[in-house]
Amino acid sequence: MVRARDRGSEHKYLAVRAYLSELVANELSVGDAVPSERSLTERFGVSRMTVRQAVDALVTEGILERAQGRGTFVAPPRADFEMRLTTFGEEARRRGLTPGADILETAVVPAPRTVAEALDRDVATPMHFVLRLRTADGTPMSLEETWVPVDLAPDLLSDGVPESIYGALRARGLDPTWGEETITAADATPQERETLQMQGSHAVMRTSRRTFGGDAPLMYSRASYRGDRYSVFVPLREARPTLVPRTRASAPAATTPAGRVPEGSPR
């Protein structure tokens, strides 16, 4: 049942939007068409503009997508990629998506300062560089730049860009074991919007990652993920206890035990 609240167009807009969200969540499948503008107009007794506003909002959120001249359809769900030491392809496959990559550029380049510092090399040290458009089920998901020191794996790209650079590193005994990634929200540049085929929202998540194998920095990468197609999943755990010098942790004459890592504290 439709419960159109009659408290001004703002509420009507919200009612249409809530109705469509419910429909997408409970009744429709990915790729199904949503009810036409005309039927929504009649159903809610609102103007076509109000209906369009509600649909636009859901397109911007990435819940619906427009196909030129064909109508408005339920968009595929966002991919919730976990922040862990995996590659795009591995994460996509684990979600039942088929990963793909368009190689936009590949070269050996002198390391810029940021890259050199991240990989613990001198500025201008030769680096394998790859720029890829990553896709999932054919939909553009992210633009990814990757740098690997040539001295680590001179022949890394000699047979073309491997499907997985982590895989190619592992094949050379350079197993990625840990890393650090920084995520920043940003507006896509015009070129990014075009390459990523972004129609609604212009929001992207930019990441920069240092990948290590034990003590050795192996790879530096930067990516821009579509904000409307991608969510980040971060497992959380209890924070470790803070360490304070015992001189301050204990009263001058007291004999409290030192440090502050209590027995059985979470690792």
Binding site: D120, T177, W178, E180, R210, F212, D215, P217, A239, R240, T242, L243, V244, P245, R246, T247, A258, G259, R260, V261, R267
Partner: protein, 81 residues
């Protein structure tokens, strides 16, 4: 060749200006976030030689990237502090 975690902890403490210079150290998943009394006493080069993969200094906050060994290093630091 690889220094022990206890040696690394001792060198990191020295690089941070010694235990007297520490207000607190917060062990994160791959980093030690320290609040120091006087940032001028921090020696980034010494921290790097101690095995840190990166050192970020912002005011009195010094972040030392140590990687997944942070757990054992934190335990060793607790002993030394």
């Amino acid at each position: 060749m690889t220094p022990s975690d206890a040696d690394i902890a001792a060198s990191i403490l020295a690089g941070l200006g010694g235990v007297e210079n520490i207000d607190e150290i917060d062990p994160c998943t791959t980093r030690l976030r320290s609040l120091v009394k006087d940032p001028a006493l921090v020696d980034p080069a010494l921290l790097r030689r101690a095995g840190a993969f990166g050192v970020m200094i912002n005011g009195r906050v010094v972040q030392v990237v140590v990687g997944p060994r942070v757990d054992t290093i934190a335990s060793d630091l607790a002993e030394l502090m």
